[in-house]
Subunit: 455 residues, 2 copies
């Protein structure tokens, strides 16, 4: 191989400092998941194709990475599709497995498969990579981690309250003040459509409404009309185009607007319960916002819908999202299992924390001191100290070779190691260590106990 | 989907307690890797096929999971191979990516690709899953984690010394006393072959010698003769069939046996350096053993070879292995990069720790207390306490629904939650909490501070 090797597009290598920073975020998410009573599960990277296919729509099916059967896969290939060179139809006869596309469908599969071992309500979290054959672009990768927490087996709205708190504590722990937790409810959206007599155009309506920030009131109205929504209907929802006030005031407005829709009023009631309790219990650093344009995953969610926007100073899309889905496991034959969950967008959170310079310096701190290697006798002496320091939990290293001293110091410098320990003949004789602070250049002679306490 | 869903053979779901136990082992490995100065990297789950293919021999190539190209993959398929239904030859034209088979080849690729950003010697660790289309059997899976630590860019034998210490500290921390760290050297093996005049039969010789434990001296000799190794040659290495004594005595025997082989004597010298220093520095709980039958990865290693056997009380194969490879990155065009590394076998270590009952009880401890839900008013009151307890890092949960109290207690019991907190009208009025120990049944009335300190 003559040319430098590379990795597939849309994938990434993570350097030590990147791994450390990602782990820092994951650790904060994980510890909060556990504080809230969520338990970890892990599922295989690939699932049987029929577990995944048909769950994400046609576009989703296309974006699922399929694994070629092992061995003589053509022996079992469908002859007709092979002859007609029909890639789409051939796939199922030469590929039985596929890489997971998200963590929700595998979770639903897990719940159904293990329903007799699980104690419901089941609060699980899962932090694992997923794969999508999407066109790579800035911030969008073909392999990325999802961090999901879901509760399955209870319709209690206290869970929505706690999930908002969970977002708040995670982002507070990350030092990310002022994230906006947007909440809406699928029933509000269908209530609105019902009131305006355009239930069959619900998706068109919400997709248009969702663009309010981007294309403005006129643009949204224009799009709605183009989609066949009547002007009369649009006039009815005029309050939604200038939807301001406190959350409580907004809910009152919705209550007026949706008074004729049973579904809509159920949504108002749910929203009120969740928002009231969240606000009375209080958030640490996040801001709760009721956003009726929020319509993510419309086909999926049935109750609360969440989306988290980064602090206003950062221009970036959502860093989290989630909601309630009344029939999580129905696709695998287990009915009446309501689920509600949220997800953290690791890659974007990383970019936000980086942009705001919020990674603590200690995150990437690795080795505390490099022991300079003056030869085998000195190295052995050094390793005796190193062994004891490591046993005390201190990260120290011996430079492996008796290289030029200046090279060894350069190595410490490039690695960002703050101290060097020098042990030559003299130090060995007097049973001391020369400890050099590589930032200040200051060097002191210490005994082992002092060395240990200094590091 | 009517039938219960399942997962592909050779893969696993991990339940909360299994994840917790795996994480416990991984955390101990990780923290020791870092104490020894290794830094984490992560590489993509799939690599370009040409990065992986041809690196693991023909059998390895077959066991690599290939990913089908996205879109109309048949459009670019080789027509001849398609027509002749030649699966093996067709693969490269319909699949450009493959799941990684181990962590070593991706690491070599990483080093070459990022050589200008890396400060050598580079001590990296990597803990990620790998995939092999192997026939699943007890303890062998198609998806499993590897935990590798390698140093690249230095030939210093101090690294071998430290890697033995690293094995020792990890297994000591796991409470696994008496693991046997077997060491050998590839140069010893080739020296032996040279001395007996059967250099061309080195692999046959070592494969046979490796079976000494299984088929005995006679069996090994029989196999050697069948493979065309002369009786005269076998007589020359008679000392190897009863190779006892201290490590130092064994090395002396090898020194006699290999005195005419330059390669062999180099191996003796290396072994002596490593073993002498390891023994003088001392191991905490592991036992070092020189095992001349150890020949794993023969085509790969060029110096030290390591393998770790579990304590003698457990019947199980190796739980770790590694060695020195002088030309790690040559396959990707970067010459003269010596590497040395070790690997921990997570799945087998798990089984050993389980069998010896060494997982601390706290590992699977999750939620500390369940707050019983008596209705929305009480639940709100409970959440006020829960919020403060979580802020103090205590894992507590509210039962999400106002279900029958006996059902809520059963939930705590099944989940293994040790305490319940009861808040009814009475408690709310007197601003106290009833804390019930679910093991003893004892129930006390406490204020918030006492509640917090009790949990």
């Amino acid at each position: 191989m003559a040319s430098k090797p590379s990795i597939p597009k849309g994938t990434r290598d993570f350097s030590p400092s990147e791994v450390a920073k990602r782990q820092y975020i994951i650790q904060i998410i994980k510890s909060n998941f556990e504080k809230f009573g969520f338990q970890p599960i892990e599922t295989p990277s690939f699932e049987n194709s029929d577990t995944l296919m048909g769950k994400y729509g046609e576009e989703g099916d296309r974006l699922i990475f399929k694994i070629l059967n092992s061995g003589d896969y053509l022996a079992k290939a469908d002859a007709t599709h092979l002859e007609s060179k029909d890639s789409t139809k051939l796939t199922s006869s030469i590929s039985e497995k596929a890489l997971r596309y998200d963590l929700t469908v595998p979770f639903a599969r897990y719940v159904v498969q293990h329903q007799n071992e699980i104690e419901f309500p089941f609060k699980r979290y899962q932090i694992q990579p997923v794969w999508r054959a999407d066109r790579p672009q800035k911030g969008r990768f073909r392999e990325f981690f999802q961090c999901d927490a879901d509760v399955v087996g209870s319709k209690s709205l206290w869970q929505e309250v706690e999930l908002v708190q969970l977002y708040d504590t995670v982002f507070t722990d990350l030092g990310l003040s002022g994230v906006i937790i947007k909440i809406n409810n699928r029933k509000i959206l269908s209530g609105i459509a019902e009131v305006i007599g355009a239930s069959d155009k619900l998706i068109d309506f919400t997709v248009a409404l969702d663009k309010l920030d981007k294309i403005g009131e006129d643009g949204v109205k224009k799009e709605m009309i183009e989609k066949g929504i009547s002007l009369e209907a649009i006039v009815k929802v005029q309050p939604l185009f200038n939807f301001t006030g406190t959350i409580s005031e907004k809910i009152d407005k919705l209550s007026d607007l949706l008074s004729t829709s049973a579904d809509g009023m159920k949504g108002v009631e749910e929203l009120r319960f969740i928002c009231d309790n969240v606000l009375k219990l209080g958030l640490e650093s996040a801001v709760l916002d009721l956003d009726v344009t929020l319509a993510r995953g419309l086909n999926y969610y049935t109750g609360a819908i969440f989306e988290v926007a980064p602090p206003k100073s950062v221009a970036m899309g959502s860093i989290g999202g989630g909601g309630r889905y009344d029939d999580l496991t129905g696709i695998f034959g287990l009915k009446n299992m309501s689920g509600v969950g949220i997800s953290f967008g690791l890659d974007r959170i990383y970019l936000v924390v980086e942009e705001l310079n919020l990674f603590p310096e200690t995150v990437t701190a690795t080795t505390k001191a490099l022991f300079i290697n003056y030869g085998d006798k000195e190295a052995f002496y050094a390793l005796q100290a190193i062994q004891k320091l490591r046993a005390a939990g201190i990260k120290v290293e011996l430079y492996p070779e008796n290289a030029k001293v200046v090279k060894q110091f350069q190595h410490a410098d490039k690695r960002g190691i703050p101290f060097a320990v020098i042990i030559g003949e003299q130090e060995m004789e007097s049973n001391v260590y020369s400890l050099k602070n590589l930032k200040t250049g200051e060097q002191i002679s210490v005994d082992f106990e002092k060395l240990k306490s200094s590091l």
